[in-house]
């Protein structure tokens, strides 16, 4: 039997940092949102779907003008916005890209998003941008570095950020703690919030033979400011073991829906994004999948019984 969330019935919750040194913003509504895609711009404005918020990738809007800004400005007038960065490279072993922070700051000032989030990962080295979220070892030195980078981001942007747990495929021999302990410490020290990507938890747990529900329980759920849901692709590793790939190109898997329900039972209704970046369905199909997440939010009096065994060892 899953423990019932003590937050059930509450609406938007904010992270409660141990060190309250960052300004919390109003936050996203405790509803579901979808990614805003250019092919849906006109549909969204014409049909004004009843959806909690839209999320955009910050880097797509770091352009001078044109339809992206035209439509985002108009859509933002009707919906809360989540600004999600994919290029800041917070896990970099070099200095943060201050010019990129300036661009983020300009976007935040222009569009006043309810949330800004980035990943626990690196994506650039030297001048090269790899367009992928690359893993970091979970050791002391990396922890100190990531905390410094998150501090710098929050200082420069003048607001709290949410840090997203990654999908990982590899482990580092140098790691001295698990991912949940690493994230908990970053959150405790910097006061940032957690963007809990439930698909990433599931993918990483399958990929590393861990128990997904135990992982959820070891994360600082009181700091969750947003949840991500997405689909994965399947592959096999060199030993033939299942290897899940975070692809954002298919509907959310039933196991991830189940884990999501378990998270909601612990957190109460929480802003939730349905992430889809590849093989895009049309807007109504995307909204229908998002509705499924929203339907789960009030139905928390009884946890879902999925019959899934979370352990893999």
């Amino acid at each position: 039997m899953l423990a019932l969330g003590s937050f059930a019935g509450q609406h938007t919750r904010r992270a409660v940092p141990a060190v309250p040194k960052v300004r919390a913003v109003a936050g996203l509504p405790a509803r579901t949102g979808v990614g805003l895609k250019p092919e849906h711009f006109r549909d969204v404005l014409e049909t004004r779907p009843d959806i909690g918020f839209f999320e955009v990738h910050a880097e797509n809007y770091m352009v001078d003008g044109g339809p992206f800004h035209h439509f985002l400005g108009r859509i933002r007038a009707h919906y809360p916005l989540s600004l999600h960065g994919v290029g800041l490279s917070i896990g970099t072993d070099g200095p943060l890209d201050e010019a990129h922070l300036d661009r983020l700051d300009a976007l935040i000032k222009r569009y006043q998003p309810a949330s800004f989030s980035e990943h626990l990962a690196w994506s650039s080295h030297g001048e090269v941008f790899f367009n992928d979220l690359l893993p970091v070892p979970y050791d002391r030195a990396t922890l100190d570095r990531v905390c410094d980078q998150v501090d710098r981001v929050q200082e420069r942007l003048g607001r709290q950020m949410l840090l997203e747990n990654p999908s990982t495929y590899l482990e580092f021999a140098a790691s001295t703690m698990d991912e949940a302990a690493f994230l908990s410490e970053v959150i405790r020290r910097t006061g940032c919030g957690l963007l809990l990507d439930v698909n990433n938890v599931y993918v990483s747990c399958v990929n590393h033979g861990r128990d997904a529900l135990a992982t959820i329980d070891s994360l600082p759920l009181q700091a969750v400011g947003e949840i991500h849901l997405a689909g994965f692709a399947t592959d096999r590793d060199a030993a033939g073991a299942l290897l899940l790939i975070d692809s954002h190109g298919s509907p959310v898997d039933e196991a991830v829906w189940c884990l999501y329900a378990a998270v909601l039972a612990r957190t109460g209704p929480t802003p939730t994004l349905l992430e889809r970046d590849n093989d895009m369905p049309n807007l109504p199909a995307l909204l229908a999948e998002a509705q499924r997440a929203e339907d789960l939010m009030p139905a928390l009096a009884e946890p879902m019984h999925c019959g899934i065994q979370w352990g893999y060892s």
């Binding site: 080295h125 590899l170 030993a239 290897l243």
Partner: protein
């Protein structure tokens, strides 16, 4: 020792399929981490190939998806992005295609890629309000020396001069015109501009490309017209000016001190 995988070592393996995976990576089940590292190698290369393919759809149609993706894979490894903003990626692609031996049999491929690149740049360029015709008429009757009129082009504007029929080829792939009637060897120059939300692609008449480029680089009207006329006797100034005005390629003007000719 040997435990620490530096990001430099990790990064080096991402674009080099022949490099072994760095020591210090492992998997829970003791399996070879190289197969897992391959997920990242594939993410990097295939997502960047996708980005190139998205920017150059007609170039891809001209050579077929298989050839295009193989060519793009080589491009991605040789010219990975230097910007985190993927809209900026692909500026070197047309030059790469120019030097790509297996694509020699499609001599217009690189210039079609230049046209497509210009469309992406125009799409995301700064906005600008097109100059109204009345304003220009007003200026022309103001008594100033018209030859010293400096016309400012729209920030989204570019001109591509080609020895090939790039506009007709591109348009045929948008369902405009019949591809079988296009003579690829007929020289065409393209004007690309986004006066509002939509990017326009226009075939420029003789001399108009030289004229538009001259205006864009700051030449006064008399100098730009003289340059175009020296290129072709067929240059028609009123027609070129009307075409640029009508499609929103001009946004403002001023009278400059002098003309050079």
């Amino acid at each position: 020792m040997g435990l620490l995988v530096t990001q430099a070592a990790f990064a080096a393996t991402l674009l080099a399929p022949d490099l072994p995976s760095p020591a210090g990576l492992r998997a829970w089940n003791g399996s070879d981490p190289a197969a897992r590292l391959a997920v990242h190698r594939n993410n990097v290369v295939s997502s960047l190939i996708d980005a190139v393919a998205d920017s150059f759809p007609v170039a891809q149609e001209l050579v077929g998806e298989e050839f295009f993706r193989a060519m793009a894979a080589l491009f991605v490894r040789e010219h990975p992005p230097r910007s985190k903003i993927l809209a900026h990626y692909g500026c070197e692609f047309a030059d790469f295609v120019d030097g790509f031996e297996p694509a020699r049999s499609v001599p217009y491929l690189a210039d079609v890629a230049r046209l497509e690149r210009a469309r992406v740049l125009a799409y995301h360029a700064a906005d600008g309000d097109p100059l109204k015709a009345e304003k220009l008429v007003e200026a022309m009757s103001s008594g100033h020396d018209l030859g010293t009129l400096q016309l400012h082009c729209h920030p989204s504007m570019s001109v591509i001069v080609s020895a090939h029929a790039i506009v007709s080829l591109w348009a045929a792939h948008q369902g405009e015109g019949d591809l079988s009637t296009v003579d690829p060897a007929a020289a065409e120059s393209a004007l690309v501009v986004r006066p509002g939300l939509d990017v326009l692609v226009l075939r420029l008449p003789p001399g108009a490309a030289r004229f538009a480029i001259a205006l864009q680089t700051g030449a006064v009207l008399a100098d730009a017209a003289a340059l175009a006329a020296s290129e072709t006797a067929d240059f028609d100034l009123p027609n070129a000016l009307t075409l640029l005005m009508h499609h929103g390629a001009l946004i403002s003007f001023q009278f400059s001190g002098s003309r050079s000719q």
